[in-house]
Symmetry: C2
Subunit: 215 residues, 2 copies
Amino acid sequence: MKIGIFGSGVVGNTLGTKFTELGHEVKMGSRTASNDKAAAWVGSAGSKASQGTFADAAAFGEILFNCTSGAVSLPALEAAGAKNLAGKILVDVSNPLDFSKGMPPSLTVCNTDSTGEQIQRAFPNVKVVKALNTLTSALMVNPGALAGEHDLFICGNDDGAKGRVTEILREWLGWKNIVDVGDITAARGTEGLMLLWIRLYGKLQTPHFNWHITR
Amino acid sequence: MKIGIFGSGVVGNTLGTKFTELGHEVKMGSRTASNDKAAAWVGSAGSKASQGTFADAAAFGEILFNCTSGAVSLPALEAAGAKNLAGKILVDVSNPLDFSKGMPPSLTVCNTDSTGEQIQRAFPNVKVVKALNTLTSALMVNPGALAGEHDLFICGNDDGAKGRVTEILREWLGWKNIVDVGDITAARGTEGLMLLWIRLYGKLQTPHFNWHITR
């Protein structure tokens, strides 16, 4: 399958590498076609990996992953272009972290809005599925690295898109417990987890943990 | 031990009942000394239970539990009186839920502030420990009702107060997994959990679930 990834940071890198290992073709999009970090990733990830602009990655992908920082996701997706995005599933992995006021970061948007909703409003023809934004990237692609049960939260307005993303999360990444928490407004809740995630990271001195809903 | 509880809703009722069952003396404080809900609770909870104003409960308690709604906690505590609160541990169980904009509720304060911080700022001599605000009241007093592992998050500025509250949570209520997430500013994170808790409640159709951090 052809996959477009927006963002050349550790999240895009980790997901892109996993997808190429599974035999998929991945194009990593950045602000410039020759982004150094994307080039380094292409150099390491083998023949299935390529790079380009945000618009190149959007046009290339049958499914798209937004791995940019939430604070810059909208400009990145505008650069990708509504026409290139239209009708596609966009898995939004971003969090609206705001480091401008020091540590720990706050969120640029939360409570009554979310990055997921901002993206869905800006691109109504895109099937935005918020997922994978509630844990560290190494665990996104290797949930079995934690011994106990743990959960992934997804939300979005399009049930078909959520179903397809759920299949991908199960079959490609090995996720067992996927909790659909509703429409895209539920991203207020899943992005809001960052406010505690950051504190737990500081206290536990490791990002290798995840949420589980015990019933 | 003498315990003051602010608020006569289901949370104050549930905690108050448990504490009287354990043999402690509990005074439930309300805006008026003759509050009907508090009177009904006193009638059902036996000879260890009494009621009064917020100020009466504050003066009575060696330890205090804020079980009012977060949106009205500050006026309730002002009515309780700084002199009656001074030097005491206040376990803040509140969440700043705002139902004024319809369902699901948003929060009156979050991200860069929290009810826990507001209370600590307003009453600098009080040892505010945020705890028990991340799950439904029936589970607060009966964590064993869920079969799997699950966690309670606490935070606050005073390590001694957190230690005492941790003992109470363990010995009186049976909590095993108590995660100290830092100073009172971490209440932004634990109160922020409500944004997802509410969605989970809607999806799971039960409030009988809790968070677990899988490591």
